[in-house]
C-alpha cells in the first residue's frame, strides 16, 4: 500500500518539481501576507496558468502556495493586527502585542517554525491515512458513491454554520451550475441556450476564478485602505537558529495543536480559522499563565499557527480519497486536479499513484521549506510585501485572471462567463452567502446525479436499491446525523435560553 509512496519520491525530487514547490511557497507567503488575498484566490489565479505544465509541477506550486499562504497570513497579523488570512486572526491576539513590545521578529519566527511543524505533521497524516481509506472506498459501487457525494454536500453546508438557509441556497446554485451542458447519459443539452461553448458544461476553473479571484480584486480597488507599515521596520530579528532553542518549550503546544489542526482539517467544512481558534483556546486553558495570554505570549502564536497549518494537508484526505473537498482551498485544488484530467476519488490512487503520492511528498517539502524560505531567509523582506499599492495589485489580478481564463480555450466567452460568476461571487460575499458550497455543489452535483442514475439503472429503476446494502445504510445514517445534529443542538439551545429567560 505504501510502496507507491516511496516510488513517487524520485520524481518529486527532480529539479523542475522541486523548483515549483519553492516558487509556490514564496508566492504563497507573499499572497498570504497581503490582507484580503487568500490561498484560495492565489490557487484560483494560478490554475489556468498550469494547463501546459506537467501535473506534478502544477500540484507542487499549489501545495507550496497553500502552505506558504497559511504562514504568510501571520505577517500582517503580527505586525499590523490585520490578519492576512482568516486563519491568522488568532495569531494576532498575542503576535501584535509582541510586535508592539519590539519582539515582532521573534513572533514571526515562532509563527514560521510552528507553521512548519503543523504542516509536516499534517502531510505525514495525509500520507498514512489516505492510502488505506482509498483502498476501502475502491470497493464502493455507484449507490455508495452517490451517498458519499450527498454526505459531502450535507456536511459542508451544515458545518459551515452561520446562516444555514443561505448555505443551502449556495449549494443548490452550485449543483444547478453542474447540470448545465450535455447530459452524459441521455445526450440532451440542458440550459445551454444554444451556446456550443456550454455543451461540455461550465468549466470548474472559470467558476473558481470568478468566485474567488474577482471579489478580492474588486475589494482592492474599492476600499481605500491606508496601511501603516512602520512596525514592519522594527522587527529586531536575530537568526532563526539562535532563536530556535528557546522555542523548544512549546513542544506540548505543537503536539496538541497539530492533533487539533489535523482533526479539524479532516472534518468537511471546518477549515483553518476554526482549527486556530480551538487550538488557541485549548493551549490557553492548559497554560500555567493564562492571564498573560493576549498580552504577548509567544505560545499563543505557536498554538494558532501550528493548528492552521496542520489543517492544510489533512483537508485533502477526504478530498483525494472520496472526492469531497472539506474546505474552499481543497475544492479549488480538486479543480486543479480535474483540469489535468485527474478525477479525485479512490480511482486516482489506482490510476495515477505517481501523481497523488508525489503531491503528498510536495506537501511535506513545502512545510519544511517554510523554515528555510519564510524564516531564516527573508522574514524581513516578506514584511515589505505589505507596502505593495493596492490599486496596482487589483489591476494586476484582474488582468491575470482574464488572460488565464482566456488561455484555457482561447475564447472570450469563458472570460464573460468568469466575469459573470465574479460579480455573482461579489454580491454573494457581501450578502453573506457562503462560497464553498457553490464549488462543492458544482463538483459533487453532477457526480451525484451520474452515480444516482447508474445505480438506478443497475437496480432496474428500483429506488430502494439505493439503500440495499449495509455501506449505503451506514452512509445514510451519517448523512442524517450531520443534518439532524445541528438542528437538535439549535433546538436545545433555544429551549435552554427560554428557560433561563
Amino acid at each position: 500500500m505504501y510502496g507507491s509512496l516511496i516510488d513517487a519520491l524520485p520524481a518529486v525530487l527532480s529539479l523542475g518539481n522541486f523548483a515549483a514547490v519553492v516558487l509556490g511557497v514564496i508566492t504563497g507567503i507573499c499572497i498570504g501576507a497581503l490582507p484580503g488575498l487568500s490561498a484560495t484566490m492565489a490557487i484560483s489565479v494560478l490554475i489556468p496558468f498550469t494547463f501546459g505544465m506537467d501535473p506534478l509541477v502544477a500540484l507542487g506550486m499549489m501545495a507550496g502556495i497553500y502552505n506558504g499562504a497559511m504562514y504568510g497570513g501571520a505577517i500582517p497579523a503580527v505586525l499590523l493586527r490585520i490578519p492576512g488570512t482568516p486563519a491568522a486572526v488568532a495569531t494576532s491576539f498575542d503576535g501584535y502585542p509582541m510586535a508592539q513590545q519590539g519582539r515582532g521578529g521573534y513572533a514571526l519566527q515562532v509563527s514560521v517554525v510552528s507553521s512548519a511543524i503543523g504542516g509536516i505533521v499534517s502531510a505525514i497524516v495525509l500520507m498514512l491515512l489516505a492510502p488505506p481509506l482509498a483502498k476501502v472506498t475502491l470497493l464502493f459501487g455507484p449507490s455508495e458513491v452517490f451517498w458519499v457525494a450527498v454526505f459531502g454536500l450535507s456536511a459542508i453546508v451544515f458545518l459551515l454554520g452561520g446562516d444555514v438557509l443561505k448555505g443551502l441556497l449556495s449549494a443548490c446554485f452550485g449543483v444547478f451550475v453542474s447540470l448545465v451542458g450535455l447530459d452524459s447519459i441521455s445526450g440532451y443539452d440542458r440550459y445551454t441556450f444554444g451556446h456550443l461553448e456550454l455543451l461540455d458544461g461550465i468549466n470548474i476553473v472559470v467558476l473558481l476564478v470568478g468566485l474567488y479571484a474577482i471579489p478580492p480584486a474588486i475589494a482592492l480597488l474599492e476600499e481605500v485602505v491606508d496601511v501603516d507599515t512602520s512596525t514592519a521596520k522594527k522587527l529586531n530579528t536575530t537568526s532563526l537558529w539562535k532563536a530556535f532553542p528557546s522555542m523548544l518549550r512549546f513542544w506540548k503546544t505543537w503536539l496538541r495543536s497539530s492533533v487539533i489542526g489535523v482533526f479539524v482539517g479532516i472534518l468537511p467544512g471546518a477549515g483553518g480559522s476554526m482549527a486556530a481558534f480551538l487550538s488557541y483556546n485549548e493551549a490557553r486553558r492548559a497554560s500555567s499563565n493564562p492571564e498573560d495570554w493576549g498580552k504577548g505570549e509567544p505560545e499563543g502564536v505557536a498554538a494558532s499557527e501550528t493548528a492552521n497549518n496542520a489543517d492544510t494537508a489533512s483537508a485533502l484526505i477526504p478530498a483525494l480519497t472520496l472526492g469531497i473537498p472539506g474546505t474552499a482551498v481543497a475544492a479549488v485544488m480538486l479543480g486543479g486536479l480535474m483540469i489535468h484530467g485527474l478525477q479525485p476519488g479512490p480511482m486516482l490512487f489506482r490510476d495515477n499513484p505517481g501523481i497523488v503520492f508525489g503531491f503528498m511528498w510536495q506537501f511535506l517539502f513545502a512545510a519544511i521549506l517554510l523554515i528555510v524560505l519564510g524564516g531564516a531567509l527573508a522574514t524581513n523582506s516578506f514584511a515589505q510585501v505589505l507596502r505593495l499599492p493596492r490599486p496596482l495589485l487589483g489591476a494586476f489580478i484582474i488582468t491575470l485572471v482574464l488572460v488565464g481564463v482566456y488561455s484555457i480555450n482561447g475564447r472570450m466567452f469563458d472570460v464573460y462567463l468568469m466575469l459573470g460568476f465574479g460579480f455573482i461571487g461579489y454580491f454573494m460575499d457581501k450578502l453573506k452567502f457562503p462560497l464553498p458550497p457553490v464549488v462543492l455543489g458544482l463538483i459533487l452535483g453532477g457526480f451525484a446525479e451520474q452515480n444516482l442514475r447508474l445505480a438506478l439503472r443497475i437496480g432496474g429503476g428500483d429506488w430502494t436499491a439505493l439503500a440495499a446494502n449495509t455501506t449505503s445504510k451506514v452512509l445514510i445514517a451519517m448523512i442524517l446525523l450531520v443534518i439532524l445534529t445541528p438542528l437538535f443542538s439549535r433546538l436545545s439551545r433555544r429551549k435552554k435560553s427560554e428557560s433561563t429567560a
Binding site: F49, L165, L431
Partner: protein, 155 residues
C-alpha cells in the same frame, strides 16, 4: 463586513429572494421538454431554490415583526461610485482586448486603472506596468506559445 439593523429601501435579502424566484421560475419552465431522468435533478434544485428563497423572504418579514427572527441587513457597497468605476473599467478592458489586442490594452489599462483608483506615483507605475506586461509577454508568447487577442497594429 458592515452590518446594520435598519436601513433605507427594501431589504437586500428580499430583493435577492425575488430575483432567485424569478430566474429559477424561468429556468423551471424549460424542464418539461427534457427527458424525465434528465429533468429530475434540475426540477429538484430549482424547486428547492424557490422554496428556500420564499423562506428567506418570509424571514425578512418575520424579522420586522418579532425579535425572535433575525435577518441582518448587510452593507453591499463600500463605495458605490468606486464600484461602478470598477465595473466600467473591467467592461472597457474586456472590450478593448477584443478590439485593439491584449498587450496594448494591458499596457494602457493597468496604469490607468491604478492611477484612477489612487496610486499616483507615475514613475513606479510605469515601471511596474513595463515589468508586468513584459513578464506576461514572456510567459504567454515565448514560453507557452499561447495566442492572445492580436494587436491592432499587426493584424
Amino acid at each position: 463586513m458592515k452590518q446594520t439593523t435598519s436601513g433605507q429601501g427594501p431589504h437586500p435579502d428580499l430583493i435577492t429572494g425575488i430575483a432567485i424566484i424569478v430566474v429559477a421560475g424561468f429556468l423551471l419552465l424549460r424542464t418539461p421538454d427534457m427527458p424525465t431522468m434528465s429533468s429530475l435533478l434540475p426540477i429538484t434544485m430549482l424547486s428547492t431554490l424557490i422554496g428556500l428563497s420564499v423562506l428567506m423572504i418570509l424571514r425578512v418579514f418575520a424579522a420586522t415583526r418579532s425579535e425572535r427572527f433575525k435577518a441582518p441587513r448587510h452593507q453591499i457597497f463600500e463605495n458605490l461610485p468606486r464600484f461602478l468605476g470598477i465595473v466600467v473599467a473591467i467592461g472597457l478592458y474586456v472590450v478593448s482586448v477584443s478590439l485593439i489586442g491584449f498587450y496594448t490594452t494591458t499596457a494602457v489599462m493597468v496604469p490607468l486603472v491604478a492611477w484612477s483608483f489612487g496610486y499616483r506615483d507615475i514613475k513606479r507605475l510605469l515601471l511596474a506596468d513595463l515589468i508586468f506586461t513584459g513578464g506576461l509577454a514572456i510567459i504567454f508568447a515565448l514560453l507557452m506559445g499561447q495566442d492572445l487577442p492580436t494587436e491592432f497594429f499587426i493584424r
